[in-house]
Symmetry: C2
Amino acid sequence: MGEYRALTEQQAVEYARNVPGLFEKDAELVSREIGDGNLNLVFHIIDKKHGKSTIFKQALPHLRVIGESWPLTIDRSRIEAEALKLQDSICPGMVPKVYFNDVDMSLSMVEDLSYLKIMRFELMKMRKFPKFPEQIGKFLARTLFYTSDYHLDPIVKKELVKKFINPELSKITEDLVLTDPYYNAGTNDINPEIMGFMRDVWWKKDALRLEVTKLKEAFMQKAQSLLHGDLHTGSIFIDENEMRVFDTEFSFYGPAGFDIGAVIANLILNYASWAGRDDATAEQTADYRAYLLETVAGVYNAFESYFSEAWDSDARPEFKDVKGYKEYVMREIFEDAMGYAGCKTNRRIIGFAHVADIQTIKDEKRRAAAQMLALSIGEALIMNRAKLKGIDDLITLIKDFT
Amino acid sequence: MGEYRALTEQQAVEYARNVPGLFEKDAELVSREIGDGNLNLVFHIIDKKHGKSTIFKQALPHLRVIGESWPLTIDRSRIEAEALKLQDSICPGMVPKVYFNDVDMSLSMVEDLSYLKIMRFELMKMRKFPKFPEQIGKFLARTLFYTSDYHLDPIVKKELVKKFINPELSKITEDLVLTDPYYNAGTNDINPEIMGFMRDVWWKKDALRLEVTKLKEAFMQKAQSLLHGDLHTGSIFIDENEMRVFDTEFSFYGPAGFDIGAVIANLILNYASWAGRDDATAEQTADYRAYLLETVAGVYNAFESYFSEAWDSDARPEFKDVKGYKEYVMREIFEDAMGYAGCKTNRRIIGFAHVADIQTIKDEKRRAAAQMLALSIGEALIMNRAKLKGIDDLITLIKDFT
């Protein structure tokens, strides 16, 4: 405990050894650095003698990016641990257990989930996860409903809003996702093959920028539900049976549709990637894309079904007793989800942070083909979010582009 | 300083005497209780020797209402003083100066504005204030714009959101304004003459309750601007030249249209009152109502003009550079203002707290006439807020009812 200092690997191991109840007294601890060291220190610490293990994560006060240093509050460690604990209470077994956290040192010890795989890399191998829609749909519905005004005492909810105000990490999303891709910003990272399209067409789309700015404003102002805030397929551990959501440091109160949109966007990005990849047959691609679209529909349908069920059981009377209100809320969430799915798709093509699904396509022309498909879908989602009647319309829209 | 204790009048005077720089050493202080003692202690303290004075206000930990005690956080004193200071920095001379505040004791000493009159009682005497639209329009535009994301650094703005989270006082509005009037709640206070209409008609208006609940949700979730939060004509000091807004303890981040709606609602309530009063000639009533409608239009037009001016000078580029965005924001604020004006009108007829404009009409039948007119306008405002093209449509709507 005490004043913050970034720990060395050896210090981290010693720190872990002294956390009461975490390891046995005679533990033989070995550690392996598994983070990229840009944002957090992450060590996988194993007791070889008793087979216990933990993930040790400490927030660093700077985000190190290409040649510069971006100061970033270490308060995100508190937010991450608090969000995980709250989500675990709402959806037991769907996030890593937090064994211990030290707010002053901005570190936590969480459940070791290294027996699971990162979903993004599995999708890139055309793996299928039939239980995923049900799992993530339940996670989304329950975390978004049970942290909202529809369920919580309004005084409790406002204390949670206060606790999770997360200005610096929210600003990353506001800038990199909801602003920069829509003009020629220095933070963008653009395939030279699509640079002409950016200059001549994309950055002249005033109507698109207007709609994205409306979504940005809602992201900044609409304290509807406690969000994960960064729910892409790289924040999901998975196997055939189990799914866990992690990396909740972007958590804050925002529009419920944002997390749903993030999941859908990352499925769309994988869908688009096959337009540029040359390591699958046409049949394999068609089959996997059909699976991805089924998954998109499945995720949304599961979300709706669990959300509706939670509403019927546990909504506060002042909302539940109002005829048509559940339908109004679910429609608003749908439109937001579609809009943010579009924003999250586009930013991974134009913006600062790309996804491996598409970025691993070495050939710039082939990569551009995948990117242009993603942008077409992303734009259509944003511009048509009020017109789509339901998730099936989204599937039709995506199919119409391919 | 030190732990909270409610002060007696004599202790308050002694406390004031010891605040550095407030009174002279040889001040001859006299005090007069001017609050109603239900929510706050309020003393008017005057130094008879040097002619200086202050308003001493201390928050009480309970709201005493008809036979019961409602615990209410004394943190509202901090919020009130902070909001006044922020508003004074944005609109100098439009709120009382805060000379001193003591967060632990939940008290503050503010500028004595007793040379001005409470606007509500002046309207009840058919007084006219030609400068008011310009004054309040400027106050609304500047306080709502300069505390919003359109102007502030997003990190600064989120710290302000956190500072002004005001759960208990917000809940009073959520319940008494945005929920209870739309069903047969125990908190309502209803003229027996309109009770039949309530039971047979009003509480069966599902579409109205649905729209009000949408406005309630936005009130709870949309952290757009720092609001006054209770901006009725009893929170405004006025004379021919000067206007000051006070009583900011409900201040929090909410939808900008709420404060504008509150001002308009209180002008409408006075307008409606003349349908029940018998102390003015038809000509006087027609003349004063014309003045009130001019004032409503004038307030909104001044708000729009100052808001637009502030946007053009001081909006952040990520909003200002987006074609059509100012128009989108101003339209959203207009619809919210109309909706909340309707809610604030209705609650003063059906809900817990009434207004003197109408409540002073002794005859129940005459009072009912004023009340029914107010409810008709209130409902129309809520139901037609998306259809009204601008403030002139509101004036037409009101005239159509009379």
